[in-house]
């Protein structure tokens, strides 16, 4: 994840592995499939950024991402499936302070519309390969900010609508058709929020905003279907 200033200068970068768990239940009927899916990922990411005054600073960010999705699939033919869904995304950042440096806690909530298609592209003697492409249309994130040592009062912000892309390739071994191995790439770019009033003990103390941020992820999954 990167946060970028209006000038294009990179302010913060967080990167690392986010291991997680996914559970899904699918109901199939005729050419339709209905799915409810939950995902959770968590880990500490490396924070390479700065303080509010621009001084460079590095630490770690405790990160939790949870998603709940409702998806509908319509099989068009033996090679093509159309998909649509609604996804609820929850993202927690716990940017750690260190010494005299104060940390920051951010909680993001957003709702997304998913539209796309899945296509079987290859059948070999070893595995079947299909690809999936989803357009992700995200409503503005609702952001709740808490400041370390209660430096300021908690703040509420709303970011911008965003459009992203989610690509995935699935590999199903011929010898283990209940297993699915996936490689994917997610990208979503959210514009800078408006300024919200920053308060301290209820009194105005300035302004706060969430810079433009870009959420990118390379994904590896292993699924067992039963």
């Amino acid at each position: 994840m990167q946060e970028v200033a209006g000038s294009g200068k990179r302010l913060v970068e967080e990167r690392g592995w986010l291991p997680g768990l996914e559970l899904a239940a699918t109901y199939a009927s005729d050419h339709w499939r209905f799915r409810i899916k939950g995902e959770t990922y968590r880990n500490d990411l490396a924070y390479d950024g700065q303080l509010q005054n621009g001084a460079a600073f590095s630490t770690s960010t405790g990160t939790v991402q949870n998603r709940l999705a409702f998806e509908i699939e319509r099989q068009i033919n033996d090679k093509l499936i159309l998909l649509a869904g609604v996804e609820l995304d929850r993202w927690q950042r716990r940017i750690q302070g260190s010494g005299s440096v104060l940390g920051l806690n951010e909680n993001y909530r957003s709702t997304r519309l998913l539209l796309g298609a899945e296509s079987a592209i290859l059948k070999t003697s070893y595995c079947d390969v299909s690809t999936k492409a989803l357009l992700v249309i995200a409503q503005p994130e609702q952001l709740h900010v808490s400041f370390g040592n209660q430096l300021f009062d908690d703040a509420e912000l709303e970011t911008r609508s965003a459009t992203g892309l989610r690509l995935e390739a699935d590999f199903v071994p011929v010898g283990a058709p209940d297993m699915v191995f996936s490689l994917g790439f997610d990208t979503l770019r959210i514009g800078r929020s408006n300024d919200a009033v920053l308060k301290k003990n209820g009194l105005a103390a300035g302004f706060v905003s969430q810079p433009e941020h870009r959420r990118n992820a390379f994904v590896m999954r292993m699924r067992y279907q039963f």
Binding site: E3, A5, L11, V12, Y47, G49, Q50, L51, Q52, N53, G54, A55, A56, F57, T59, R93, I95, G97, S100, V101, L102, G103, L104, E106, L143, V145, F147, G148, L151, F152, A155, L157, D195, L198, K200, A204, A205, G206, F207, V208, S209, Q210, P211
Partner: protein, 342 residues
């Protein structure tokens, strides 16, 4: 934090002292002519007013008033001995912001712009960029916006940004240090009493100080609009372009030269473009009028008026009414009389 306070406060006084010195003594010796095509004729009737405006504009980018006030920009002349100058006032607010920024040690995720209440009302919002928290260093910058910020008898409004570069040594009133400041004024105004000064434009300020009251400074910029109002009515609205100032101070002897082109609305019949060139650097003792020095104001048709300091009270105006390079008329007057014209 205490050390930071001292640094910032000393820095402001330091620059103040350096600029005061720069305006009085020291001989810059720089009298590079920057004649520019002018559009207004200088005559017997308007020469004193033209000279008065040139002196007033020169004072606007040099120092006048008390030793404690630093002026590069417009001096708000309220008649009060301790009237604050543009740069001094600006830097005092910036140093306050640097000292008070509560979010300096807060990580960035969201970004904050803090506002600070002013002593007697209003506020200033500020964005600070520091490589090392609590220490001013090259590359740092501050951008502030004042909203009816009242400090004592002075009210500030508008925007100011300052960048610091080439800092060497520790800024202080008696230390050896040097540095450069880049300033940008956006509808920045200072009001005191019935007078208000409005500034728009850019300014590059460079200081080299060897010790207490031993310093040299230079100021330059592309365009600086200076507007003075009294009781709500605009009395001067001029723009200085391609302007420069060099000066130095040694003990209480100040030497300075100024060069610029001025356009705008003056208190004279012809509002046009005049080129101002220092032909002999001015010298004066701190707090007094110059006792030596000369500047030439050139209007259209190469008409001109040359102001020469005879002593720290009297000046001579040599008027060339037809642009042939020869003096056609001489008028003797005083520094105080010229000042009263504005």
């Amino acid at each position: 934090m205490q050390l930071v306070d001292i640094k910032y406060s000393a820095g402001a006084m330091m620059i103040s002292a350096a600029m005061v010195a720069g305006c009085g003594g020291g001989g810059g010796g720089d009298s590079a002519a920057t004649a520019t095509a002018a559009t207004s004729t200088i005559s017997s009737s308007n020469a004193p007013d033209v000279a008065a405006n040139a002196v007033n504009a020169s004072n606007g980018i040099s120092q006048s008033g008390s030793v404690s006030s630093l002026i590069t920009g417009v001096t708000v002349d309220t008649g009060n001995a301790g009237s604050a100058g543009l740069i001094d006032t600006s830097l005092q607010q910036i140093y306050k912001v640097l000292e008070k920024q509560a979010a300096a040690n807060l990580v960035a995720g969201v970004t904050t712009t803090q506002s600070y209440p002013c002593t007697n009302g209003g506020s200033i919002s500020a964005t600070v960029s520091e490589a090392m928290t609590g220490t001013l260093s090259s590359g740092d910058s501050v951008a502030l916006a004042a909203t009816q910020c009242i400090e004592g008898s002075t009210t500030l409004n508008g925007g100011l940004s300052v960048s610091f570069s080439n800092l060497s040594g520790t800024p202080g009133s008696a230390t050896a240090w040097s540095g450069a400041l880049g300033l940008n004024f956006k509808n920045f105004s200072i009001a005191a009493g019935t007078e208000a000064a409005l500034v728009n434009g850019d300014m590059a300020l460079s200081i080299n100080q060897l010790g207490y009251m031993d310093a040299a400074a230079s100021i330059s910029g592309n365009s600086l609009q200076l507007s003075l109002s009294r009781s709500g009515a605009v009395v001067i609205d001029r723009t200085l372009s391609a302007y420069s100032y060099t000066g130095a101070v040694k003990s209480n002897l100040e030497t300075y030269s100024v060069n610029f082109t001025m356009t705008g609305d003056f208190k004279i019949a012809s509002n046009g473009a005049y080129s101002v060139t220092t032909t002999t650097p001015f010298k004066r003792l701190t707090g007094a009028y110059p006792y030596q020095g000369a500047l030439k104001v050139t209007g259209s048709g190469n008409t001109s008026v040359t102001l020469t300091a005879l002593d720290n009270a009297n000046v001579r105006l040599d008027i060339d009414k037809n642009g042939d390079g020869a003096t056609d008329e001489t008028v003797n007057t005083t520094w105080a009389a010229l000042k009263s014209k504005i």
